[in-house]
Amino acid sequence: MLEIRNLQAKAGDKLILRGIDLTVRAGEVHALMGPNGSGKSTLAQVLAGRELYEVVGGEVLFEGRNLLELSPEERAREGIFLAFQYPVEIPGVSNLYFLRAALNAVRKHRGLEELDVMDFAGLVRERLRLLGMNEALLERSVNEGFSGGEKKRNEILQMAVLAPRLAILDETDSGLDIDALKAVAAGINAMRSPERAMILVTHYQRLLEYVAPDFVHVMAEGRIVRSGGKELALELERQGYAWLEEEAAPAQAG
């Protein structure tokens, strides 16, 4: 589904991604871990098409197509979804309107009929129940005045409504209390399917207690330096990230 080969990207003059290789197949859940500043969030944003970053090398294929030549909205319509680490507040745009506009943009692209207000309200309510979310959040402006937990749940709600093929969740677990974390994890698990792939970007192992990944990758200084099964996450939990510095340095020289 997703094929990343030797991806390099800059923010301004600073090279942040220094050659990422990653293959994600349908049905798989990959955890992308690593210390702050290792480039995990940058990778997530580059895949979603953030223009702050300039791709200077390598390629990304999504379902066999060159992802990098698509605009952010085209990527979303093709089935890529990024749950933001810091969801943006949009005063004056109701959450319900936003969700429907987004879903209809995606449906139109796929040749499906756009949903009217009534049909859409039914669909959203069902997804809300799934996430244990309060219906009142739909009437409010997008993320405006939401608590940290509400914002993250709102991201998961958007994912549940848009039903992407590849979901990239950027630190969706950070800053959550245990109840919110469980709700978010339940939402993620409910979305797992043989047709859908997920990349969970996370700093901690906490989320992975509730969502078992098929693969764990560790990033450091813009590269994936270790890959393994879910036991790798446990190892990181015990050892922390300090050992990476010894490993990353020679890797960089080589």
């Binding site: 953030r50 987004a102 995606v106």
Partner: protein
């Protein structure tokens, strides 16, 4: 008088000549006290001249193009020159060249009269109010309006009347290439505990140079509740000045919405004096400027008595090489303890060349008050645009949605759904024109 004489620096000679040319006719048709008011206003104008950018209140708005143009007094027209805006519902008065056209609608609890009829037939209604709230001593354009006061509209809402039907005044001009000036005047008197909604719209054709110099006065007695909505929809070559000056008595409440969309050079003023204990006002403004439009909003809220509250929100959306000015003054007099005043001005720039000058100003002479103010100027939030795009919403649509949402904070305060829809449509049309070009 030749056009050349108009370009003198302070620009008043041509106006004085215009007055003297018309004075015999003006004097013949008015009671002595009214003509005396005109003459006082004219001599004040002769002292002041037209505003220049050396005046603090006019620092960012240059009236030189106005001073250079030779205007003629607009002649009366018997019929409405154009169809009024279809979206306005209510008891409609068409004022052509500042003169209300008969027959005026009959509304229970409301006296609607032309000012010319009122000062002949019911001078007791007019004489104590006209010129009392719009102070020409300090304002040369108000002085000019008062000097050329020939007609206008009186709206009087009886004590205790709760008028359901909105009162709609639509000003129209038919310039016919003659660069006319009109001096529309409206006097709104709301009796004790009266309640009414009033809309006043200024319209005119594109491609014609004309000058609207309008003054509206409001006197709201104790407990009166008024909603006043001003829609500036002038033609694209128009000079437009409109000043709304209101005095609010004890516990009176005024909500004034002000939308400025049209015109080439526009100055829109609101002056509210909270003259009774517990009076309150809300001033909402939205200005949409594109191309080379210049739109200036100048507001003054004077808290004269204790426990009065004012809330002000003005928002501007600018495109092209448009310029906008917001200058908002809040004055709290020594007696006005427990004043609560909030003032905000926010501007959204859609192009690199658009310019905003914003100047919120608090002048506080009482010590137990709560006053806050703030101003922002910014572009469409890039993070929000990316967020929307990352959900499949097209770039254009994302910008459109965010711009509408920005305006929405003001338009949602309008009580008229149809005016809100009209303003949103106007905004969308401009966005499409800007993006298509």
């Amino acid at each position: 008088m030749s056009a050349a004489a108009v370009s003198s620096p302070a620009g008043q000679e041509s106006w004085l000549a215009l007055f003297h040319a018309h004075e015999p006719r003006l004097a013949a048709a008015a009671p002595w006290w009214l003509h005396g008011l005109r003459r006082s206003a004219l001599s004040r104008f002769a002292q002041l001249g037209l505003p220049t950018t050396r005046w603090e209140e006019w620092k960012y708005t240059n009236l030189a193009p106005l001073a250079r143009t030779a205007f003629q007094l607009a002649e009366p027209v018997p019929q409405p020159p154009a169809r009024g805006p279809a979206f306005l519902e209510g008891a409609q008065v068409t004022a052509a060249h500042g003169r209300p056209l008969e027959p005026l609608p009959g509304i229970p609890g409301v006296t609607l009269m032309s000012l010319a009829a009122a000062w002949r037939e019911a001078p007791e209604l007019v004489r104590g109010h006209l010129g009392r709230y719009a102070a020409f001593e300090r304002h040369s354009l108000v002085a000019l309006n008062t000097a050329f006061l020939e007609d206008g509209l009186l709206v009087r809402v009886a004590d205790g009347a709760a008028v359901q039907q909105p009162i709609v005044v639509v000003h129209q001009v038919a310039p016919a290439g003659r660069t006319p000036v009109t001096h529309p005047r409206t006097l709104i008197l709301a009796g004790r505990n009266a309640q009414a909604r009033i809309f006043e719209a200024w319209t005119g054709p594109d491609g014609e140079i004309y000058f609207t110099n309008a003054v509206t006065e409001i006197c709201a007695e104790e407990g009166a509740v008024l909603e006043y909505t001003r829609l500036e929809l002038e033609g694209d070559q128009a000079f437009h000045f409109s000043g709304l000056y209101a005095r609010l008595g004890r516990a009176a409440n005024l909500t004034a919405h002000s939308a400025a969309l049209g015109g080439a050079l526009v100055r829109s003023e609101v002056g509210a004096v909270l003259a009774g204990e517990g009076a309150s006002c809300a001033l909402n403004g939205l200005y949409l400027a594109s191309g080379r439009q210049h739109i200036d909003n100048y507001t003054t809220i004077e808290h004269a008595e204790p426990h009065a509250t004012s809330v002000e929100l003005y928002k501007g959306i600018l495109d092209g090489q448009a310029q906008a000015v917001f200058h908002g003054r809040i004055i709290v007099r020594p007696a006005a303890q427990k004043t609560d005043a909030v003032q905000r001005n926010r501007n959204l720039l859609l192009s690199e060349e658009a310019v905003v000058n914003t100047k919120p100003q608090l002048e506080i002479y009482a010590d137990d008050v709560r006053c806050t103010h703030g101003a922002t100027v910014g572009q469409v939030d890039a993070d929000a645009v990316f967020y929307l795009r990352s959900r499949g919403i097209a770039h254009r649509e994302a910008r459109r949605l965010l711009t509408l949402a920005f305006a929405g904070e003001m338009t949602e305060r309008l009580s008229s759904e149809r005016v809100r829809v009209f303003l949103e449509e106007q905004l969308l049309r401009r966005l499409e024109a800007a993006q298509g070009g």
